[in-house]
């Protein structure tokens, strides 16, 4: 895979980013400097070589995040923002699935949806 300006710019966005980004949001963060197809293609490339991971929420949009760590998200259905949390019981569930159902587990997806603190305050007004 060659190093191009588009790829460097896209990947840079994720370095200090803790929450998942959609292709469209990446496009906007880069001020439309690259075509959407370029963004989509490269996000997928990064996912294939492990630099990014992706998750699909109930809105059916793919969100990407750094592939180096393992964590999960809670999504506020009002303000549409994510927050990260690290608690995860996947290992014990994986064990259960492997031992009792015989699967070879490849991965899992876990996310919560709710209303964040700020939005709860907003709604009281």
């Amino acid at each position: 895979m060659r190093s191009t300006k588009a790829r460097r710019d896209i990947l840079d966005l994720f370095h200090n980013e803790d929450v998942p980004l959609s292709a469209d949001y990446v496009y906007e963060l880069l001020n439309g400097e690259y075509d959407r197809s370029t963004i989509y293609r490269n996000l997928k490339n990064f996912e294939n070589n492990g630099k990014l991971r992706s998750i699909v929420f109930s809105d059916k949009i793919t969100y990407f995040y750094k592939g180096s760590e393992h964590f999960h998200f809670i999504y506020c259905v009002k303000c549409k923002k994510f927050e990260r949390f690290d608690l995860c019981y996947s290992e014990s569930i994986s064990k259960y699935i492997t031992e009792n159902l015989g699967y070879k587990v490849l991965g899992h997806t876990l996310y919560f949806e709710g209303i964040c603190k700020n939005c709860q305050e907003e709604m009281k007004k």
Copy 2:
């Protein structure tokens, strides 16, 4: 909400079904007797009144399942079938999110992906 043949036929499919069904599969199971828009509209109706729940997998297709119970799924990426499992630690995670992040939790999605026993055998051949 009125009782129509379409609604009765659609809902009947879920009574003895343990795994999630897509709108398209519902359409096929009913031999194309109803228009896809009818299927889509009614699945969404059922979800709104609690008769069904839905989950979106990484394929971005909405799958519906009986709303009466709470359970999760493991999906075989080879044979594309689901299997249900009931183990879930969502309550302790919910508690964590509520107490530490201040969210009001509305729901969660948890699924695993892997390769089922049969497909593992197949792959050995």
